[in-house]
Amino acid sequence: MKKKTPLMQRDGTRSVLASLLSIIIGMAAGAVVVLLVGLFNKSMSLKTAWEGIRIIFLGIISTGRNAAGALTFGFNPVNFGNMLFRATPLILTGLSVAVAYKTGLFNIGAPGQYLAGTAATLFIALEIPSSVVPAWLIWILAFLGGMAAGALWGAIPGMMKALLNINEVLACIMTNWISANLVTWAFDVSNLKNTVENTKTAYIYKTSFNGVQTPKMFLDKIFPGSQVNGGILIAIALAILMYIIFTKTTFGYELKACGANRHAAKYAGIKDKRSIVLSMAIAGAMSGAAGALYYLAGNTEFYWSTYQSLPATGFNGIPVALLAVCNPIAVIFTGMFMSMLDIAGLQLTNLTAYNEYITDVIISVIVYLSAFSLVIKLWLGGRTKKTGDGPDANAETGPAPAVGAAAGKEAQK
């Protein structure tokens, strides 16, 4: 008797519900912080707190203030376009973390790989004269160069993990800072520092200075006035590619097997060391592509003196991936959600007395909740069990999140 599992009892449904619940709790936590500040800060009132809360939830459709000073809402093409533009690197760093996580590795090195990709892209895009080589060719070279640099930078902790059994979290953190210093060093001695617009210090030329930029692909017609370009389509295509690799190919299966149990995979004849290095290299390539697409847009500038800080886009790949339960297709949506929060944060800074860091608080709460998503999923399973009739409701939730714990343990051995 073949009967389809009811929708509410499928593992996928429950994962989606757990993620939605995490999002709601995270945003509620942000609202509570805003409310507390509104209550206890003398210079703010309950009215500003209410405005702040509305923007946290509805920032994406905010259209500013009307003449009377009240907040107005409605379709805002600039916000939507910018959301897509900012989602591009987030989707890619999210993919980066997700790919590594499927192989049982926690890729906290996305910021370093992102920087490596950025540096390679900018050097290629700005150093090759567009008077000699056609701009579209430079664009392709720069994009591929960025991915290659990211892949190389990701492969280093991968190799240390595979060959020397060094905790990949630690190796990634160290390579992050080494990357930040190397990139600063490289630009410091380069001749790419923006000296034309000398109102700004420590910025690199935009790639449009050399005539190289990502084509808009008519997206600017749909969202006039925003920064959106074809990069978002490339990011979505890469996400679909990752999905195909992991669900339809032997190679993807080998990577997943390594993540589930490295020793069992080895016993089954899978080259575990090769899988780990390749997985980290792919993860690095995704982060590198994130940096490449963000700075090839032509309207973004790179602050090169970055040795004291790591790009937040890299770290935000972690919540994007976790919220998507490491499913490459879901990463597209969670990446857009994160950039929507970003836009809401900017609206908060522009329109109210609060500031954009509240969105980081919301993101961190979401990550915190996803750490024990198993408990949430079990709880959701228990709820549906009361109303429905699934004897196997608890059985299938068991093994999925064990990967992370096992990986953590493996890492320390």
């Binding site: 980081d360 915190y368 024990f372 992370g404 343990k409």
Partner: protein, 343 residues
Amino acid sequence: MSFLIRQTLIYAVPLMIVALAGVFAERSGIINLALEGIMIFGAFIGVLFVRLVQQWGWFDAAKQMDNWVALQGFVLLTMAVSAVLGAVFSLLLAFAAINLKADQTIGGTALNLMAPALVLFLIRLIANQNTLQMATGDAASWFMIKKTMFGFDKKAKLGFLASTFLDKVYITTYVCILVFIVLSIILYKTRFGLRLRSCGENPQAADSLGINVVKMRYAGVTISGALAGMGGFVYALTTANCASTGDVAGFGFLALAVMIFGNWKPLNIAGAALLFGLFKCIAAAYASIDINGDGVFLLANIGLNANFYRLLPYLITLIVLAFTSKSSRAPKAEGIPYDKGQR
């Protein structure tokens, strides 16, 4: 030379105390990846406390009377305050990891994201900029111990030892060393320490002997949080001029590396911290290091780029880990949520 030693100690001491924080958590079986976040939080709390008390004006009076006992006592009080709140913050990790059996790596990462976000959100509201500073004066003029406090004349020439360890130093350095020694003894020579360590090696066996694993792991994480919070304030006071920017420049992660390099043993950690402190010190002040006092700045004269010295600590960490990872021995049960059913 005494400048070099003083500076090295300034960097080594926060590393050492935060690495010990990591030891307490991991020896009880919980991976504390959140050290960086807790440090950031502790630094913020400490600076905020200093700022508030300054605004109340109590210590301007003490400063005016040159009552340095009160000022130093105030530093100790601030250390205690950041330690307590660091411990409270770390309870978030303990709750997720122990009660909810969460993935500890992700839980720690969440705290690492939360601390700078929360801290910057509040700093922006309090100070209307991205840095929270002291209300008046700077850290050195308020809290540094100088030779004049011991009755020496300003121009008096001190011996090597006295000029290294008594002039232009912070009391936090010595308090941290003392705390480090006391806690190391507790970890190895008391019943509590033995029980704590047993929970990191084989919690099932420990439980069967009547040790409360949950309680011990809470104790481990809480002590860890207190030490990391205190270390965060010490870092802010001694290297960042008592300012909080939602950032401790990766010191928490460096401390984790020191802990692994030190093989989870206090004595080795102290040595490793000194080594890293030396490299950090070279990175920060290589241009003004005059090793033998003949007025020749050796490292500056080599002509290497400043970025080379800045990436040196991280590079050395990687290389050292590559060579020591074979002999490294982590607590056996760390990272695994305690499950009574596996007994």
